[in-house]
């Protein structure tokens, strides 16, 4: 495993930006700043995949209980996002993509962000356990721990495989949705887990290819920084191919019908085609465009696959 040491010294939640606020100064944070701290775009993806997992699960879940479970999962995702921004405030201040976040911009003090994130995390786990199910709450607690401690504090600044292993945190929500509805785990939620797990590397590496200078400046050992653009493009192609196959497994194993299978295979083929295009592109500007195209399509891919799963679950019921 490739490891670089330069970034390791940054592993401290200290904000060096001149805009950073002290905990002793009156807060200038607006409600919108706290919402931004929760990474609402990531939350929406988490809620969607968790909802699909819940709808696919066997058995009936009361709409109020289902809503409560989704609320807890979304709040937990926001809490994890806030804790991530608290810990990463130093490197966020150095990267153009993240410099506008509430802590580097000086709108929220790091301590406030930590308190906010920790409170929401505790509330969401306790609420899910008390009102829905303790196994789902345990899985939710583990997901927050994995994202904040394993990914943010450990892997992100240590290894270029950060996003591969850390991607598991984003893959748990459909599983949590399933467990919240059914109370147990089976093969199907594991397949959903693996779809998101193998989707994460090509999605993030496509983005990081266009932000190499940012990551290098911040000392974050993303794959393009450590291994170069060519190796990253090769890995994107490999993971996209694996994703295309894994995306079709719910159909190949007989859990979903041919409509899902054909959709997943077509979307997977398009993902591979875009990854191939990126792999073969040598001109910097055109390669950047190809990376952006793949990044945008990867979001659409996940939406299409989960939307078809959701429609099938609604039409044919949770199990075929």
């Amino acid at each position: 495993m490739l490891v670089i040491s330069e970034g390791a010294e940054l592993a401290r939640p200290i904000v060096n930006s001149p805009a950073a606020v002290s905990a002793h100064e009156p807060s200038v944070a607006s409600v919108g700043d706290y919402i931004a701290l929760m990474k609402p775009r990531v939350m929406s993806l988490v809620v969607f995949t968790a909802f699909v997992g819940m709808m696919m699960a066997p058995g009936h879940v009361h709409p109020v209980i289902g809503f409560t479970a989704l609320l807890c999962i979304s709040v937990a995702a926001g809490a994890a996002g806030a804790l991530n921004m608290w810990y990463d405030a130093d490197i966020d201040a150095l990267m153009a993509r993240t410099a506008g976040r509430p802590i580097p911009r000086g709108r929220i003090a790091p301590g406030e962000a930590f308190g906010f994130g920790a409170t929401l995390a505790g509330f969401s786990i306790a609420l899910l356990g008390l009102l829905v199910s303790w196994p789902a709450a345990a899985l939710l607690a583990f997901t927050i721990f994995f994202y904040v401690v394993v990914y943010t504090m450990w892997l992100k600044r240590w290894t270029p495989q950060n996003i591969v292993i850390g991607g598991a945190a984003g893959a748990f929500p459909p599983m949590i949705g399933w467990v919240a509805a059914s109370g147990h785990i089976s093969i199907e939620p594991c397949l959903l887990f693996f779809i998101v797990f193998f989707w994460t590397p090509p999605h993030f590496w496509a983005l990081s290819l266009t932000r190499v200078d940012d990551y290098a400046r911040a000392g974050v050992p993303m794959l393009p920084v450590v291994a170069g653009a060519d190796e990253t493009r090769r890995q994107i192609l490999l993971y996209s191919t694996a994703l295309a196959l894994i995306g079709a497994t719910p159909w190949l194993l007989g859990y979903r019908n041919a409509i899902y299978g054909v959709t997943a295979l077509l979307a997977g083929a398009l993902m591979i085609a875009l990854a191939l295009q990126l792999r073969n592109e040598r001109d910097r500007k055109r390669a950047d465009r190809a990376a952006r195209r793949l990044f945008a399509f990867s979001i659409l891919y996940l939406f299409i696959v989960f939307a078809v799963l959701l429609i099938e679950a609604c039409v044919t019921g949770p199990k075929m």
């Binding site: 009156p26 807060s27 200038v28 944070a29 607006s30 409600v31 706290y34 009361h62 109020v64 209980i65 409560t68 609320l71 609420l127 356990g129 008390l130 009102l131 303790w134 196994p135």
Partner: protein, 52 residues
């Protein structure tokens, strides 16, 4: 009004934002109360039955 030494005086903008944050917290707590009430109605006596 004279400013006391060592005492922080909030600007109008800071006061407005503090008020907005306080309202957001109040709304969240109110929503939590309603959520507990509705879930208790939905679950009925089973609300106390939470096997691990």
């Amino acid at each position: 009004m004279e400013r006391e030494p060592g005492k922080i005086v909030l600007t109008q903008e800071q006061q407005r934002r503090r008020r907005a944050r306080s309202i957001a917290i109040a709304l969240a707590l109110g929503a939590l109360v309603i959520l507990f009430y509705v879930v208790t109605l939905v679950k009925g006596p089973a609300v106390l039955n939470r096997p691990l």
